[in-house]
Protein backbone atom coordinates (compact mmCIF):
# COMPACT_ATOMS: atom_id res chain seq x y z
CA UNK A 1 0.00 0.00 0.00
CA UNK A 2 1.28 3.39 -0.90
CA UNK A 3 1.94 5.79 1.89
CA UNK A 4 -0.23 8.58 0.60
CA UNK A 5 -3.14 6.20 0.09
CA UNK A 6 -2.82 5.15 3.69
CA UNK A 7 -2.78 8.77 4.85
CA UNK A 8 -5.91 9.44 2.83
CA UNK A 9 -7.54 6.41 4.43
CA UNK A 10 -6.40 7.52 7.87
CA UNK A 11 -7.83 11.01 7.30
CA UNK A 12 -11.16 9.51 6.40
CA UNK A 13 -11.04 7.37 9.52
CA UNK A 14 -10.07 10.25 11.76
CA UNK A 15 -12.80 12.45 10.37
CA UNK A 16 -15.34 9.69 11.03
CA UNK A 17 -16.26 9.38 7.35
CA UNK A 18 -15.92 5.60 7.41
CA UNK A 19 -18.78 3.25 8.20
CA UNK A 20 -18.51 0.82 11.06
CA UNK A 21 -17.20 -2.10 8.97
CA UNK A 22 -14.78 0.11 7.07
CA UNK A 23 -13.44 1.56 10.31
CA UNK A 24 -12.98 -1.92 11.65
CA UNK A 25 -11.17 -2.89 8.48
CA UNK A 26 -8.87 0.12 8.92
CA UNK A 27 -8.06 -0.74 12.53
CA UNK A 28 -7.47 -4.38 11.59
CA UNK A 29 -5.11 -3.24 8.87
CA UNK A 30 -3.19 -1.09 11.37
CA UNK A 31 -2.94 -3.97 13.78
CA UNK A 32 -1.69 -6.25 11.05
CA UNK A 33 0.91 -3.74 9.88
CA UNK A 34 2.69 -2.16 12.87
CA UNK A 35 4.76 0.12 10.59
CA UNK A 36 1.51 1.71 9.40
CA UNK A 37 0.26 1.99 12.94
CA UNK A 38 3.36 4.10 13.67
CA UNK A 39 2.62 6.28 10.68
CA UNK A 40 -0.94 6.73 11.92
CA UNK A 41 0.21 7.68 15.38
CA UNK A 42 2.72 10.19 14.06
CA UNK A 43 0.17 11.65 11.69
CA UNK A 44 -2.43 11.90 14.41
CA UNK A 45 -0.14 13.70 16.84
CA UNK A 46 1.00 16.10 14.16
CA UNK A 47 -2.59 16.93 13.33
CA UNK A 48 -3.32 17.46 17.01
CA UNK A 49 -0.44 19.87 17.25
CA UNK A 50 -1.70 21.68 14.22
CA UNK A 51 -5.17 21.98 15.64
CA UNK A 52 -3.88 23.10 19.02
CA UNK A 53 -1.70 25.62 17.24
CA UNK A 54 -4.65 27.01 15.30
CA UNK A 55 -6.81 27.21 18.40
CA UNK A 56 -4.06 28.89 20.33
CA UNK A 57 -3.34 31.35 17.53
CA UNK A 58 -7.03 32.25 17.36
CA UNK A 59 -7.16 32.63 21.11
CA UNK A 60 -4.10 34.84 21.22
CA UNK A 61 -5.40 37.04 18.42
CA UNK A 62 -8.68 37.33 20.26
CA UNK A 63 -6.91 38.15 23.49
CA UNK A 64 -4.87 40.92 21.91
CA UNK A 65 -7.93 42.27 20.16
CA UNK A 66 -9.90 42.36 23.40
CA UNK A 67 -6.96 43.98 25.13
CA UNK A 68 -6.98 46.80 22.59
CA UNK A 69 -10.72 47.21 23.05
CA UNK A 70 -10.35 47.24 26.80
CA UNK A 71 -7.70 49.94 26.72
CA UNK A 72 -9.76 51.88 24.19
CA UNK A 73 -12.77 51.76 26.51
CA UNK A 74 -10.66 52.89 29.42
CA UNK A 75 -9.19 55.73 27.43
CA UNK A 76 -12.68 56.72 26.35
CA UNK A 77 -13.81 56.69 29.94
CA UNK A 78 -11.09 58.95 31.27
CA UNK A 79 -9.90 60.60 28.04
CA UNK A 80 -6.20 60.54 27.35
CA UNK A 81 -5.25 63.40 29.62
CA UNK A 82 -7.51 62.17 32.39
CA UNK A 83 -5.93 58.70 32.28
CA UNK A 84 -2.48 60.22 32.60
CA UNK A 85 -3.60 62.36 35.51
CA UNK A 86 -5.21 59.38 37.19
CA UNK A 87 -2.18 57.13 36.75
CA UNK A 88 0.04 59.94 38.02
CA UNK A 89 -2.30 60.47 40.95
CA UNK A 90 -2.33 56.76 41.83
CA UNK A 91 1.46 56.85 41.88
CA UNK A 92 1.78 59.99 43.90
CA UNK A 93 -1.15 59.94 46.29
CA UNK A 94 0.86 58.51 49.19
CA UNK A 95 3.58 61.11 48.73
CA UNK A 96 0.98 63.84 48.47
CA UNK A 97 -0.70 62.66 51.65
CA UNK A 98 2.55 62.63 53.59
CA UNK A 99 3.50 66.05 52.27
CA UNK A 100 0.14 67.47 53.30
CA UNK A 101 0.43 65.99 56.78
CA UNK A 102 3.95 67.38 57.22
CA UNK A 103 2.79 70.78 56.02
CA UNK A 104 -0.14 70.88 58.43
CA UNK A 105 1.98 69.76 61.38
CA UNK A 106 4.78 72.22 60.66
CA UNK A 107 2.37 75.11 60.22
CA UNK A 108 0.70 74.50 63.56
CA UNK A 109 3.99 73.79 65.31
CA UNK A 110 5.41 77.04 64.03
CA UNK A 111 2.34 78.97 65.06
CA UNK A 112 2.44 77.40 68.48
CA UNK A 113 6.17 78.00 68.93
CA UNK A 114 5.90 81.63 67.93
CA UNK A 115 3.10 82.11 70.44
CA UNK A 116 0.56 82.91 67.77
CA UNK A 117 -2.28 81.32 69.71
CA UNK A 118 -1.68 83.37 72.85
CA UNK A 119 -1.50 86.47 70.65
CA UNK A 120 -4.85 85.54 69.22
CA UNK A 121 -6.34 85.31 72.66
CA UNK A 122 -5.02 88.73 73.54
CA UNK A 123 -6.11 90.29 70.28
CA UNK A 124 -9.69 89.17 70.66
CA UNK A 125 -10.22 91.80 73.36
CA UNK A 126 -10.84 94.91 71.34
CA UNK A 127 -11.40 97.17 74.29
CA UNK A 128 -8.82 99.88 74.50
CA UNK A 129 -8.13 101.96 77.55
CA UNK A 130 -7.62 105.57 76.72
CA UNK A 131 -4.47 106.64 78.51
CA UNK A 132 -2.06 108.46 76.33
CA UNK A 133 1.58 107.54 75.85
CA UNK A 134 3.46 110.78 76.04
CA UNK A 135 5.81 111.19 73.08
CA UNK A 136 8.04 108.61 74.68
CA UNK A 137 10.16 108.09 71.60
CA UNK A 138 10.90 111.77 71.24
CA UNK A 139 11.70 112.06 74.91
CA UNK A 140 13.89 109.00 74.87
CA UNK A 141 15.84 110.43 71.97
CA UNK A 142 16.20 113.71 73.82
CA UNK A 143 17.38 111.89 76.89
CA UNK A 144 19.89 109.98 74.84
CA UNK A 145 21.15 113.15 73.23
CA UNK A 146 21.57 114.64 76.66
CA UNK A 147 23.38 111.57 77.82
CA UNK A 148 25.74 111.83 74.88
CA UNK A 149 26.34 115.51 75.60
CA UNK A 150 27.00 114.73 79.23
CA UNK A 151 29.79 112.40 78.21
CA UNK A 152 31.70 115.52 77.19
CA UNK A 153 30.78 117.69 80.12
CA UNK A 154 30.29 115.05 82.75
CA UNK A 155 29.95 117.48 85.65
CA UNK A 156 26.52 118.54 84.42
CA UNK A 157 24.32 115.60 85.28
CA UNK A 158 20.83 116.83 85.08
CA UNK A 159 18.27 114.07 84.99
CA UNK A 160 14.86 114.91 83.64
CA UNK A 161 11.99 112.70 84.68
CA UNK A 162 10.27 110.98 81.83
CA UNK A 163 6.54 111.04 81.78
CA UNK A 164 5.05 107.81 80.55
CA UNK A 165 1.37 108.38 80.33
CA UNK A 166 -1.11 111.17 80.13
CA UNK A 167 -4.78 111.21 80.92
CA UNK A 168 -7.50 113.46 82.29
CA UNK A 169 -8.85 113.90 85.78
CA UNK A 170 -11.23 116.31 87.45
CA UNK A 171 -11.98 117.61 90.88
CA UNK A 172 -14.52 115.91 93.10
CA UNK A 173 -14.35 118.38 95.94
CA UNK A 174 -13.04 121.88 96.39
CA UNK A 175 -10.39 120.67 98.85
CA UNK A 176 -8.51 118.63 96.25
CA UNK A 177 -9.96 115.18 95.74
CA UNK A 178 -9.63 114.19 92.10
CA UNK A 179 -11.04 111.26 90.19
CA UNK A 180 -9.48 109.49 87.22
CA UNK A 181 -9.26 105.92 85.87
CA UNK A 182 -7.59 103.07 87.67
CA UNK A 183 -5.78 102.01 84.50
CA UNK A 184 -4.16 105.47 84.38
CA UNK A 185 -2.56 105.34 87.81
CA UNK A 186 -1.96 101.60 87.86
CA UNK A 187 1.73 101.03 88.49
CA UNK A 188 2.53 104.72 88.72
CA UNK A 189 5.68 105.96 90.48
CA UNK A 190 4.39 109.42 90.92
CA UNK A 191 1.37 111.35 89.75
CA UNK A 192 1.27 114.98 88.80
CA UNK A 193 -1.74 117.04 87.92
CA UNK A 194 -1.44 120.01 85.66
CA UNK A 195 -4.19 122.55 85.39
CA UNK A 196 -5.13 124.74 82.47
CA UNK A 197 -2.84 127.55 83.61
CA UNK A 198 0.13 125.19 83.56
CA UNK A 199 0.49 124.77 87.28
CA UNK A 200 1.61 121.32 88.36
CA UNK A 201 0.56 119.68 91.61
CA UNK A 202 1.79 116.45 93.10
CA UNK A 203 -1.01 114.01 93.91
CA UNK A 204 -1.32 110.72 95.71
CA UNK A 205 -3.66 107.80 95.33
CA UNK A 206 -6.25 107.60 98.05
CA UNK A 207 -8.31 104.71 96.79
CA UNK A 208 -8.58 102.53 93.72
CA UNK A 209 -11.34 100.30 92.43
CA UNK A 210 -10.00 98.02 89.70
CA UNK A 211 -13.35 96.45 88.83
CA UNK A 212 -14.96 99.83 88.22
CA UNK A 213 -11.72 101.23 86.78
CA UNK A 214 -11.78 104.21 89.13
CA UNK A 215 -9.04 105.88 91.15
CA UNK A 216 -9.47 108.61 93.73
CA UNK A 217 -6.50 110.94 94.11
CA UNK A 218 -5.81 113.71 96.53
CA UNK A 219 -3.68 116.73 95.69
CA UNK A 220 -0.83 116.66 98.21
CA UNK A 221 0.95 119.79 97.30
CA UNK A 222 1.43 122.87 99.45
CA UNK A 223 1.04 125.17 96.45
CA UNK A 224 -2.53 123.99 95.99
CA UNK A 225 -5.09 126.29 97.46
CA UNK A 226 -8.57 124.93 98.09
CA UNK A 227 -11.08 126.34 95.70
CA UNK A 228 -14.17 128.26 96.65
CA UNK A 229 -16.65 125.91 95.05
CA UNK A 230 -17.19 123.23 92.43
CA UNK A 231 -19.60 124.36 89.72
CA UNK A 232 -20.98 120.95 88.78
CA UNK A 233 -22.87 118.26 90.65
CA UNK A 234 -22.88 114.46 90.28
CA UNK A 235 -25.97 112.81 88.98
CA UNK A 236 -27.19 110.04 91.26
CA UNK A 237 -29.68 108.49 88.84
CA UNK A 238 -28.86 106.79 85.58
CA UNK A 239 -29.37 108.98 82.57
CA UNK A 240 -31.65 108.30 79.65
CA UNK A 241 -30.73 107.19 76.17
CA UNK A 242 -30.32 110.00 73.72
CA UNK A 243 -29.33 112.55 76.31
CA UNK A 244 -27.04 115.28 75.04
CA UNK A 245 -23.61 114.93 76.67
CA UNK A 246 -20.16 116.46 76.27
CA UNK A 247 -16.68 115.97 77.63
CA UNK A 248 -13.45 117.84 78.05
CA UNK A 249 -10.22 115.93 78.04
CA UNK A 250 -6.55 116.04 77.21
CA UNK A 251 -5.75 113.79 74.25
CA UNK A 252 -3.09 116.40 73.57
CA UNK A 253 -1.58 119.00 75.83
CA UNK A 254 -4.50 121.31 75.17
CA UNK A 255 -8.06 120.78 76.41
CA UNK A 256 -10.24 119.21 73.75
CA UNK A 257 -14.00 119.47 73.76
CA UNK A 258 -16.11 116.57 72.50
CA UNK A 259 -19.85 116.45 72.12
CA UNK A 260 -22.31 113.63 71.52
CA UNK A 261 -25.16 111.70 73.02
CA UNK A 262 -25.70 108.82 75.33
CA UNK A 263 -26.15 105.88 72.99
CA UNK A 264 -26.52 102.86 75.28
CA UNK A 265 -27.11 102.05 78.92
CA UNK A 266 -24.40 99.39 78.94
CA UNK A 267 -20.72 99.51 78.19
CA UNK A 268 -18.27 97.16 76.53
CA UNK A 269 -19.73 93.66 76.14
CA UNK A 270 -22.84 94.51 78.13
CA UNK A 271 -20.96 95.98 81.08
CA UNK A 272 -23.66 97.53 83.29
CA UNK A 273 -21.39 99.91 85.19
CA UNK A 274 -20.78 101.98 82.07
CA UNK A 275 -22.64 103.85 79.35
CA UNK A 276 -21.86 103.86 75.71
CA UNK A 277 -21.57 107.37 74.44
CA UNK A 278 -21.05 108.63 70.95
CA UNK A 279 -18.24 111.08 71.46
CA UNK A 280 -15.06 110.71 69.44
CA UNK A 281 -12.41 110.04 72.08
CA UNK A 282 -8.71 109.31 71.88
CA UNK A 283 -5.92 108.11 74.15
CA UNK A 284 -5.65 110.80 76.82
CA UNK A 285 -9.38 111.24 77.21
CA UNK A 286 -9.43 108.66 79.99
CA UNK A 287 -10.73 110.04 83.24
CA UNK A 288 -12.47 113.00 81.65
CA UNK A 289 -15.90 114.03 82.93
CA UNK A 290 -19.01 113.41 80.88
CA UNK A 291 -21.56 116.13 81.55
CA UNK A 292 -25.12 116.59 80.48
CA UNK A 293 -26.61 119.81 79.18
CA UNK A 294 -27.32 121.11 82.70
CA UNK A 295 -23.73 120.59 83.82
CA UNK A 296 -24.24 117.43 85.86
CA UNK A 297 -21.47 114.87 85.75
CA UNK A 298 -23.07 111.69 84.43
CA UNK A 299 -19.94 109.62 83.83
CA UNK A 300 -16.21 109.30 83.45
CA UNK A 301 -14.60 108.40 80.13
CA UNK A 302 -12.79 105.04 80.42
CA UNK A 303 -12.26 103.42 77.05
CA UNK A 304 -13.53 102.68 73.61
CA UNK A 305 -14.05 99.76 71.33
CA UNK A 306 -11.42 99.23 68.68
CA UNK A 307 -12.61 99.22 65.13
CA UNK A 308 -15.93 100.75 66.04
CA UNK A 309 -16.40 104.42 65.31
CA UNK A 310 -18.01 106.63 67.91
CA UNK A 311 -18.33 103.93 70.53
CA UNK A 312 -16.75 105.22 73.71
CA UNK A 313 -17.50 104.04 77.20
CA UNK A 314 -18.02 106.09 80.30
CA UNK A 315 -18.36 104.82 83.86
CA UNK A 316 -21.66 105.86 85.36
CA UNK A 317 -21.58 108.60 88.01
CA UNK A 318 -23.72 106.33 90.20
CA UNK A 319 -20.80 103.88 90.32
CA UNK A 320 -18.45 106.70 91.26
CA UNK A 321 -20.64 107.62 94.20
CA UNK A 322 -20.77 104.00 95.28
CA UNK A 323 -16.99 103.82 95.16
CA UNK A 324 -16.68 106.99 97.24
CA UNK A 325 -18.91 105.46 99.89
CA UNK A 326 -16.69 102.42 100.02
CA UNK A 327 -13.52 104.29 100.82
CA UNK A 328 -12.32 103.31 104.31
CA UNK A 329 -12.50 106.15 106.79
CA UNK A 330 -8.83 106.01 107.77
CA UNK A 331 -7.49 106.59 104.25
CA UNK A 332 -9.19 109.96 104.06
CA UNK A 333 -8.08 113.28 105.44
CA UNK A 334 -11.42 114.83 106.04
CA UNK A 335 -14.65 113.63 104.49
CA UNK A 336 -15.42 113.83 100.85
CA UNK A 337 -18.24 116.30 100.65
CA UNK A 338 -19.67 116.52 97.20
CA UNK A 339 -21.08 119.72 95.91
CA UNK A 340 -24.82 119.74 95.48
CA UNK A 341 -25.33 123.17 94.04
CA UNK A 342 -25.09 123.34 90.32
CA UNK A 343 -24.01 126.74 89.06
CA UNK A 344 -23.78 125.75 85.41
CA UNK A 345 -27.29 124.84 84.46
CA UNK A 346 -28.40 128.21 83.25
CA UNK A 347 -25.27 129.00 81.29
CA UNK A 348 -24.75 128.45 77.59
CA UNK A 349 -22.33 125.67 76.63
CA UNK A 350 -19.34 127.90 75.96
CA UNK A 351 -19.66 129.56 79.32
CA UNK A 352 -20.00 126.19 81.00
CA UNK A 353 -16.77 125.06 79.36
CA UNK A 354 -14.92 128.20 80.40
CA UNK A 355 -15.91 127.63 83.99
CA UNK A 356 -15.20 123.91 83.87
CA UNK A 357 -11.66 124.21 82.58
CA UNK A 358 -10.28 125.22 85.94
CA UNK A 359 -11.45 121.97 87.47
CA UNK A 360 -10.06 119.58 84.93
CA UNK A 361 -6.45 118.43 85.03
CA UNK A 362 -3.97 116.66 82.84
CA UNK A 363 -2.89 113.63 84.83
CA UNK A 364 0.77 112.92 84.21
CA UNK A 365 2.19 109.63 85.28
CA UNK A 366 5.94 109.32 85.77
Amino acid sequence: MQRHKFIEWADQYLRGELHAEEAKAFLDFCEAHPEYADILEEHQSFLQDMKAFEARRAFKANLIEKGKQHIAVEVEEHSDFGARVISLWSKLQINAGIAAAVAVISVFTTLWLTGYFTEVKKATSDYSALRREMNTVKRNVNAQNKAIESIHNSDKTKSEPISHFGATGFLLTKDGYVVTNYHVVNGADSIHLQNIKGKVFRAEVVHTDATKDLAILRIADSSFKPLKYIPYTFKKQTSDLGEDVYTIGFPRDEAVYGQGYLSSNTGYAGDTIAYQISIPVNPGNSGGPVLDAQGNVVGIISGKQKGLDGAAFAIKSKELLETLNNIPEESLKGNIVLNNKNSLHKLPRTEQIKKLQDYIFIVKIF
Binding site: D49, G67, K91
Partner: protein, 196 residues
Protein backbone atom coordinates in the same frame (compact mmCIF):
# COMPACT_ATOMS: atom_id res chain seq x y z
CA UNK B 1 -31.15 31.41 23.66
CA UNK B 2 -28.07 33.15 22.38
CA UNK B 3 -29.31 36.40 23.86
CA UNK B 4 -29.65 34.87 27.26
CA UNK B 5 -26.14 33.48 26.98
CA UNK B 6 -24.83 36.91 26.14
CA UNK B 7 -25.78 38.20 29.52
CA UNK B 8 -23.09 37.08 31.89
CA UNK B 9 -23.64 37.40 35.60
CA UNK B 10 -21.42 40.08 37.13
CA UNK B 11 -19.78 37.55 39.41
CA UNK B 12 -18.32 34.81 37.25
CA UNK B 13 -16.88 31.75 38.95
CA UNK B 14 -13.34 30.67 38.10
CA UNK B 15 -14.63 27.39 36.68
CA UNK B 16 -16.84 29.21 34.22
CA UNK B 17 -13.91 31.33 33.13
CA UNK B 18 -11.61 28.35 32.62
CA UNK B 19 -14.24 26.53 30.67
CA UNK B 20 -14.78 29.64 28.54
CA UNK B 21 -11.05 30.02 27.96
CA UNK B 22 -10.82 26.49 26.59
CA UNK B 23 -13.54 27.34 24.10
CA UNK B 24 -11.87 30.67 23.29
CA UNK B 25 -15.03 32.57 24.28
CA UNK B 26 -14.44 36.26 23.60
CA UNK B 27 -16.94 37.43 26.19
CA UNK B 28 -14.99 35.53 28.81
CA UNK B 29 -11.80 37.19 27.58
CA UNK B 30 -13.39 40.62 27.96
CA UNK B 31 -14.56 39.63 31.40
CA UNK B 32 -11.04 38.63 32.36
CA UNK B 33 -9.72 42.05 31.43
CA UNK B 34 -12.38 43.62 33.60
CA UNK B 35 -11.86 41.34 36.58
CA UNK B 36 -8.14 40.67 36.69
CA UNK B 37 -6.35 43.32 34.70
CA UNK B 38 -6.67 46.30 37.12
CA UNK B 39 -4.65 44.73 39.93
CA UNK B 40 -1.88 43.67 37.50
CA UNK B 41 -1.89 47.10 35.88
CA UNK B 42 -1.63 48.77 39.27
CA UNK B 43 1.30 46.56 40.29
CA UNK B 44 3.21 47.24 37.06
CA UNK B 45 2.51 50.96 36.75
CA UNK B 46 3.70 51.35 40.33
CA UNK B 47 6.93 49.59 39.48
CA UNK B 48 8.26 51.69 36.62
CA UNK B 49 6.01 50.20 33.94
CA UNK B 50 3.53 51.73 31.54
CA UNK B 51 -0.06 50.80 30.86
CA UNK B 52 0.99 49.18 27.55
CA UNK B 53 3.65 47.06 29.22
CA UNK B 54 1.09 46.03 31.81
CA UNK B 55 -1.22 44.91 29.05
CA UNK B 56 1.51 42.86 27.34
CA UNK B 57 2.47 41.20 30.60
CA UNK B 58 -1.13 40.46 31.39
CA UNK B 59 -1.65 38.91 27.97
CA UNK B 60 1.37 36.71 28.45
CA UNK B 61 0.08 35.66 31.86
CA UNK B 62 -3.24 34.72 30.31
CA UNK B 63 -1.35 32.68 27.73
CA UNK B 64 0.49 30.91 30.54
CA UNK B 65 -2.88 30.08 32.02
CA UNK B 66 -4.18 28.96 28.65
CA UNK B 67 -1.23 26.65 28.10
CA UNK B 68 -1.65 25.29 31.60
CA UNK B 69 -5.31 24.46 31.17
CA UNK B 70 -5.03 23.06 27.65
CA UNK B 71 -1.91 20.92 28.07
CA UNK B 72 -2.13 19.14 31.35
CA UNK B 73 -4.63 17.91 33.80
CA UNK B 74 -5.33 21.25 35.25
CA UNK B 75 -6.51 21.58 38.77
CA UNK B 76 -7.23 24.92 40.27
CA UNK B 77 -5.49 25.14 43.61
CA UNK B 78 -5.89 28.89 44.03
CA UNK B 79 -8.01 31.75 42.84
CA UNK B 80 -7.51 32.72 39.21
CA UNK B 81 -6.87 36.27 40.29
CA UNK B 82 -4.02 35.15 42.52
CA UNK B 83 -2.57 32.92 39.82
CA UNK B 84 -2.61 35.65 37.18
CA UNK B 85 -1.19 38.20 39.58
CA UNK B 86 1.64 35.87 40.61
CA UNK B 87 2.50 35.01 37.00
CA UNK B 88 2.37 38.63 35.92
CA UNK B 89 4.58 39.61 38.79
CA UNK B 90 7.12 36.90 37.96
CA UNK B 91 7.13 37.90 34.28
CA UNK B 92 7.49 41.56 35.09
CA UNK B 93 10.38 40.94 37.45
CA UNK B 94 12.14 38.94 34.74
CA UNK B 95 11.63 41.74 32.27
CA UNK B 96 12.93 44.31 34.74
CA UNK B 97 16.04 42.28 35.55
CA UNK B 98 16.66 41.85 31.84
CA UNK B 99 16.54 45.64 31.56
CA UNK B 100 18.94 45.99 34.47
CA UNK B 101 16.41 47.60 36.76
CA UNK B 102 16.97 46.11 40.14
CA UNK B 103 17.13 49.02 42.51
CA UNK B 104 13.54 50.22 42.51
CA UNK B 105 11.68 46.94 42.54
CA UNK B 106 12.36 46.10 46.13
CA UNK B 107 8.76 46.35 47.15
CA UNK B 108 7.64 43.53 44.88
CA UNK B 109 10.77 41.41 44.72
CA UNK B 110 11.49 41.32 48.43
CA UNK B 111 8.76 38.91 49.28
CA UNK B 112 8.65 35.19 48.77
CA UNK B 113 6.66 34.13 45.77
CA UNK B 114 3.04 33.65 46.64
CA UNK B 115 2.85 30.70 44.29
CA UNK B 116 5.38 28.52 42.57
CA UNK B 117 4.60 29.59 39.05
CA UNK B 118 8.06 28.93 37.59
CA UNK B 119 7.04 25.53 36.16
CA UNK B 120 4.01 26.96 34.47
CA UNK B 121 6.04 29.73 32.94
CA UNK B 122 8.65 27.22 31.83
CA UNK B 123 6.03 25.09 30.14
CA UNK B 124 4.56 28.14 28.52
CA UNK B 125 7.96 29.08 27.10
CA UNK B 126 8.42 25.61 25.59
CA UNK B 127 5.00 25.65 24.00
CA UNK B 128 5.57 29.17 22.78
CA UNK B 129 8.74 28.00 21.02
CA UNK B 130 7.01 25.01 19.52
CA UNK B 131 4.17 27.10 18.22
CA UNK B 132 6.51 29.65 16.83
CA UNK B 133 8.09 26.84 14.82
CA UNK B 134 4.69 25.76 13.64
CA UNK B 135 3.81 29.27 12.62
CA UNK B 136 7.13 29.66 10.87
CA UNK B 137 6.57 26.36 9.05
CA UNK B 138 3.09 27.48 8.01
CA UNK B 139 4.45 30.74 6.71
CA UNK B 140 7.21 29.00 4.78
CA UNK B 141 4.70 26.58 3.31
CA UNK B 142 2.96 29.37 1.44
CA UNK B 143 -0.35 29.46 -0.42
CA UNK B 144 -2.43 27.61 -1.45
CA UNK B 145 -1.06 24.76 0.68
CA UNK B 146 -1.60 26.65 3.93
CA UNK B 147 -5.25 27.42 3.30
CA UNK B 148 -5.87 23.98 1.89
CA UNK B 149 -4.57 22.24 4.98
CA UNK B 150 -6.39 24.66 7.27
CA UNK B 151 -9.65 24.15 5.40
CA UNK B 152 -9.35 20.39 5.51
CA UNK B 153 -7.93 19.71 8.94
CA UNK B 154 -9.10 22.69 10.96
CA UNK B 155 -12.33 23.79 9.34
CA UNK B 156 -13.23 20.20 8.43
CA UNK B 157 -14.32 21.05 4.88
CA UNK B 158 -15.08 18.02 2.72
CA UNK B 159 -12.76 17.01 -0.10
CA UNK B 160 -15.52 17.95 -2.53
CA UNK B 161 -15.71 21.54 -1.26
CA UNK B 162 -11.96 21.91 -1.44
CA UNK B 163 -11.89 20.63 -5.02
CA UNK B 164 -14.39 23.33 -5.97
CA UNK B 165 -12.82 26.09 -3.94
CA UNK B 166 -9.33 25.58 -5.32
CA UNK B 167 -10.49 24.70 -8.82
CA UNK B 168 -9.01 21.19 -9.08
CA UNK B 169 -10.30 19.05 -11.90
CA UNK B 170 -11.26 16.17 -9.61
CA UNK B 171 -11.09 15.26 -5.95
CA UNK B 172 -8.23 12.78 -6.51
CA UNK B 173 -6.11 15.68 -7.69
CA UNK B 174 -7.04 17.58 -4.59
CA UNK B 175 -6.19 14.62 -2.40
CA UNK B 176 -2.77 14.28 -3.97
CA UNK B 177 -2.20 18.00 -3.53
CA UNK B 178 -3.27 17.80 0.11
CA UNK B 179 -0.91 14.89 0.76
CA UNK B 180 2.00 16.74 -0.83
CA UNK B 181 1.27 19.86 1.16
CA UNK B 182 1.09 17.94 4.39
CA UNK B 183 4.37 16.17 3.69
CA UNK B 184 6.05 19.47 2.95
CA UNK B 185 4.72 21.04 6.10
CA UNK B 186 5.99 18.13 8.18
CA UNK B 187 9.36 18.35 6.56
CA UNK B 188 9.70 22.09 7.18
CA UNK B 189 8.46 21.72 10.73
CA UNK B 190 10.87 18.96 11.66
CA UNK B 191 13.86 20.63 10.04
CA UNK B 192 13.08 23.77 12.02
CA UNK B 193 12.82 21.66 15.14
CA UNK B 194 16.18 19.96 14.61
CA UNK B 195 17.77 23.33 13.90
CA UNK B 196 16.85 24.53 17.37
Amino acid sequence: MSKIRNILPTEVSDEVIIEGLMRGDSRIISKMYKLFFPSVAYMITNNSGTQEEARDIFQEAVMVLYDKITHQNFELNCKLNTFLYAVSRRLWLKQLSRRGHTSNTTDISDFEDILKVEDDIQQHQELENKFEQMEEAMNQLGEPCKTLLQDFYICNLSMQDITEKFGYTNSDNAKTQKYKCLQRLKKIFFTLKTKE
